[in-house]
Subunit: 484 residues, 2 copies
């Protein structure tokens, strides 16, 4: 998961929804946890129709959690990530993994399996290392941040300035000149705290810093550096930037508080290479009655260049195509087409998804009912988060969720967390994302620890069943999902 | 914490105590969680005397947790571990940290500050690295195990054999010849699971393995390797041995289960150097009435060569000397002497403690009342664990613990976890160790993550208050602690 800007727009959208609900006097209020207790907003017939899907949802859950499909998402995902490891944008291994997926999706007899090209950038990590060289020698585990500038060949050696916040940087900007600025921000939430990784380097550069080290964006660490991209609006602000561990950020801060100015040597040999073409991977189960109408279920196939990308976003990508695989195996073919998209280049700026958004404008306006993405982990599912202008659509989702009481995943929250669908969300399009008990997601996110060890086969089954079940009902209802 | 053999002897001792309790019909039974509800075992006068310490315990807790001593253990420890980092046996940095402690203990005006020499071995980590080279290239984070043999200069490249247990190794021993054996044992408890690290390499060598990789002994990992020592009974069994992450052990196992035989390249340039002299560090508060009688509070000053040794055993060492510091600052001087010992060379085989055991035999037989060690983490205290032949001594401890209800640390468990006092425990001597809510101790143990970040200043205060309070009462009681 890249996540950039989503949170702001989501919060804004939630606020708009809340206000509009108050104005219309609906009970289906824009509370963060919401339901649609005012049944009048949906016609009785529609509610009854949705409830009529209880047996098919039960059969999906049974097959995936207990029956013939049991453990298959885990096994398919493990084979995939163990075979390829990290699938970083611009690498041959990502492209080979896409080829593999195309073959696999065809072997599983999904419809219309193909890829769609997207131009993607190439920022490549090289040798990188950092040491505190004074007051004593201490190696700092680091991970360079995507789009960071490299250091000169022999590195940069400079005293550090630790700040805990942007405010502290601005108050002490005269001290930042010629320093390596260390952001030691506390973890609050990913949305709040990742701003230091995304904007911190440029902010420090503006104050005259020669490089930046950002405390990894995580609530928990075992000396674990977490990478991610950083943003520069102008080339002249682009300075060497890396993440350091929570432990080392705190160590440097304690030393500074004692009146010591530690000196750090930072070496980063990363490179920018010419852009290349990557591909979004698409597969479908063609609708039996309205094949041109589409429900999208998606995740991204690319990962950071550390770990296996098993959770970010192997899990989301695999429950998405596996939903279709389950339909095929169970002989289910909904009225509309269900389309699985495995986005490329999410981590480096959602380039695959942006290209798709541009290429499918007409279809989006006319034929796509809803776009769903899972990219916040595939832990035990809680329900869905929803974004979109339509209150009625939201109430349909709430009603659909009531079908998942057997697996305790009926919760509807407002504000989808779907980085690849950011533009769809901004446009007010119906978007849903999977919500799970993902309290530990940011322990592993963008680290070497993002591996199959984080996954539980049974939990992946629950996610698959839920993702497939929701997509099935939304694709099969008589009427299209309301847009307004 | 090194831990070797303690568990077995402790379990045995617990069993003996349990049986002897049943035979004597005492209510003070050898249950794992125990109390002394049969008051008759202790004279009423003694019980009243112990209870009379409530005000002094209250004053210690008040000063350390809320008053003038607040946060001081954390601050002293942070300054120490930040200044020196890892303090590995045989290194100059360990000796400099001992010099520093001697000066600090003198500055804090403790009595009889001195060091006592002990001969310690030097196994030194060199360059070390491992890669899975087939079926794809994947770097394995490793930490060589103490006393491992080095590989040849250019490493060992060999196919692997993954086994989940000793039983599986023995069933497949013909397959181990010429292989790098990977132990992928599940974490059960440190005592149970660390046997794979301690005995696994030799067991594999006996089966013909050329090297061993042991899954790190931990219930939780973020791609974290955990070091520790391994034991070889004969030189010919000594083969290159390193820990790998939980994630990589599981990856290799999944690959093997799919019929693949991964090939691993292992390079380890560690060395054995001649033994050197290190030192146990001793400080005292001399008893006001019985200065030759002694209560020992201890922890070890050395650490593994990764992280800061802040938890293992910075916390234990620092609450031990800080207990004396608190007495001095509060003007408390118990009847007996309280002696703080900071053991050296615990992690590589408790050489400092062994030397002390040998050197202080007479004193131990006549003058030492009890030896206490904290080396299982300084998380929120629960109480004490006790070993020793004397049921009466155990009941005294239980009664003393009742004074700590304000901080919810009254629990007495059987079987002290005190690696440096292993010989004392075996001899049936009264030994107590600190028990805490240390469920996450083995997340950090022997890793780069053992830093001040694991510590909480308030929690260290609770540990200090408790450790000081128990030592004070035991050193101040009219009668010596019973041995039988």
């Amino acid at each position: 998961m890249l996540k950039s800007g989503t949170s702001a727009s989501v919060s804004w959208l939630a606020a708009v929804l809340a206000i509009s609900s108050i104005l219309t006097g609906s009970l289906c209020t824009g509370d963060i946890r919401t339901s649609c207790s005012d049944r009048d907003i949906l016609p009785r017939k529609l509610v009854d129709e949705i409830r009529g899907y209880a047996p098919v949802i039960k059969s999906i859950i049974n097959a995936v959690v207990h029956g013939s499909e049991r453990n298959k998402t885990y096994e398919d995902l493990a084979l995939f990530v163990d075979t390829f490891g990290a699938r970083y944008t611009g690498t041959a291994v990502l492209e080979r993994s896409i080829d593999y997926m195309v073959q696999l999706l065809k072997r599983r007899r999904l419809d219309n399996v193909h890829t769609e090209p997207a131009r993607v950038p190439r920022w490549v990590r090289g040798y990188e290392a950092a040491w505190m060289v004074s007051p004593r020698l201490h190696k700092l585990p680091i991970l360079g941040l995507g789009y960071s500038a490299p250091t000169p060949r022999h590195g940069i050696t400079a005293p550090i300035l630790v700040v805990d916040s942007f405010e502290e940087l601005h108050e002490n900007r005269h001290k930042a000149i010629g320093k390596i600025v260390v952001f030691n921000q506390k973890f609050v939430s990913y949305d709040v705290t990742s701003k230091y990784r995304k904007r911190g380097p440029e902010e420090a550069a503006k104050a005259g810093a020669v490089a930046v080290l950002v405390r990894s964006v995580t609530p928990f660490s075992i000396a674990t550096p977490h990478t991610g991209y950083t943003a520069f609006t102008e080339r002249r602000f682009r300075i060497p930037s890396a993440s350091i561990t929570v432990e080392d950020a705190q160590l440097l801060k304690r030393m500074q508080d004692r009146g010591i100015t530690p000196v750090v040597k930072l070496i980063m040999h990363n490179k920018d290479l010419p852009a290349v073409i990557s591909r979004n991977t698409v597969a479908e189960i063609t609708g039996r009655e309205k094949p041109r109408e589409v429900v999208i279920v998606s995740g991204h196939i690319d990962s950071w260049d550390v770990g296996q990308g098993a959770m970010d976003d192997g899990g989301g990508a695999f429950i998405s195509w596996r939903a279709l695989d389950v339909f095929r195996r169970l002989g289910l073919r909904p009225r509309r087409t269900v389309r699985s998209v495995l986005w490329t280049a999410e981590e480096v700026g959602t380039m695959g998804a942006e290209q798709y958004f541009a290429d499918h404008a007409d279809e989006r306006n006319e034929c796509i009912n809803i776009a769903m993405e899972s990219d916040m982990g595939t832990f035990k599912p809680k329900g869905l988060a929803f974004s979109g202008h339509s209150e009625r659509a939201r109430c349909v989702i709430a009603e659909v969720l009531s079908l998942f009481s057997d697996i305790d995943a009926t919760e509807l929250t407002i504000g989808a967390d779907a980085p690849d669908l950011r533009k769809w969300i901004k446009a007010g399009f119906p978007v849903a994302s999977l919500t799970t008990h993902n309290e530990k997601y940011f322990y592993f996110h963008h680290t070497e620890g993002d591996t199959m060890t984080v996954h539980d086969p049974k939990v992946l089954d629950l996610c698959t069943a839920m993702w497939a079940g929701v997509a099935y009902v939304l694709a099969d209802l008589h009427d299209s999902l309301p847009r307004r």
